[in-house]
Amino acid sequence: MTAAVMTDRAAYVPPANYKLSAAGLLRSEWTKLWSLRSTWIVLLCAVVFSAGLGALISSSVPNDQAVGGADVALSFSMAGISLSSVFVAVLGILTVTGEYSTGSIRSTMSAAPKRLSVLWAKAAVFGAVVAVLFGAMVFLTFFMTQAILSDTELGSVSLSDEGVLRALLGWTAMIVYLALLALGIGAILRNSAGSIGFYIGVIMILPQLAGLLPWSWVDDVTPFAPGNVANTIAMVDTTGADLSLGQSWLWMGIWLVVTFGLAGVLLKRRDV
């Protein structure tokens, strides 16, 4: 022990080369996401259901079904994708609520005490993973199912047909939007069961039931519900849609801003 340490006991200086950074937080969230078995299981299920259900439903289309058009053909293809979006939404919820239920949020927030950057990093990493995975799955499923449908009266749809490429990218964007919305809900409610219940009940099912309610104004607002606003961007022919393409994107943005704004405010204010 040196004399300096003896006289000034506060001589310990921590390492200067370790710094908290945005890139570090992104890498950390990446590590956290892939180090859980549940991520692999859920995403594998999503892939299997996307392709499997799409193929199964497409191959069971009656040969003589001729009515429909591109949107019907696409809806057969994407049946599995829309189911898989639920898996992905649940995984999005769990990336946040899992930290609260296990207590690992305390470690996380001790490392990044400004907190908000953790939320952005989680959303960015999860959004990017979903975008890449579903970007691939949407197109893979599309080509596979259209090959199956080409033998039917309905006929296959080509990527070069007008609006098809846009609709497929729209499907991908819709899944990413729903995944992020779910993650934001998880950050607001902080509880796995509550968040999953809210997502399935309020985001997915309630807008479907709303049409049964006796008030006419409900029909007017239902298209603007967070679970419905993305529908238009996944259509090949948007002429009959409740929202225009532009409105669809705008409202997706609004709901994400509202959700993450609320999540951010609550994250800053509440004790961990």
Partner: protein, 318 residues
Amino acid sequence: MIRRRARRTVLGMIEIEHLTKRYGKKTAVDDLTFAVKPGVVTGFLGPNGAGKSTTMRAIVGLDAPTSGLARVNGKHYSEFRSPLTEVGALLEAKSVHAGRSAYKHLLALARTHGIPKRRVNEVIDLVGLHEVAGKRVGGFSLGMGQRLGIAVALLGDPAVLILDEPVNGLDPDGVKWIRLLLKGLASEGRTVFLSSHLMSELAQTAEHLIVIGQGRLLADTTVDAFVSGSGQASVRVVSPDAARLAEHLAGPGITVSSPERGVLEVTGTEASVVGQTAAAHGLVLHELRTDRGSLEDAFMQLTADAVEYRQTTEGANR
């Protein structure tokens, strides 16, 4: 004109100023003020529910104080550009996702600060988790969870260590190990602040002591002063001639009691005097020991007073 610099915060100092934290109507911490200095192990003593954890959570910014301040190096924890190198904290064992391996948990935290994998492996070896580092934390025992928590606290090689009940669940070897580890870290000039409700544990590890009860400061003193200032040391004697020895020991200021046959507890004198008395009269001793372990008693006295005080004030307000 000579202007003296205003009192500066010492590097590594933890300062708690008028800290109050209420959860709803319940006051967990009540106007608490104290400082923890670097270079020594400081114990944080109090019964369960005294507000130890709440205070520690406030220091690392997990709980926002209702009023008052909790600062390290004169800064609020969230102002640090590299929090993990400033303060390492073990708050609750298993602040870890049960499905993640110990290695990945540490790696994920390390990545936020650009801490290399080499350092992750270093702390894993240091806490003795090498063999189970790749296993899911869900299967860890309480002791293994504590070791992982200590690894997390040490990850950034921080200047300040805050450990909430680090000894809980550790086996005797582990307890000895952490005692030496903490003393070593403090001797390097770091600030080491650990809480416990086990008074005997802190007596062996800490030099300084902060005692709280019901969220209030009861004592801020050295361990030696705390023990000697409250309980008297007593001498315990085991002898087949206990009755005769008791007669010879009797004198002004000396009390002799016999909790069981053949055993004496003597206060007001010292072991050396008891030994000499026995030798002078040719009495056989089987055991002669000074009991300073009255930290428990001292602590009970303090907290009992605090409870009484609170109850009378509450009664007056009613």
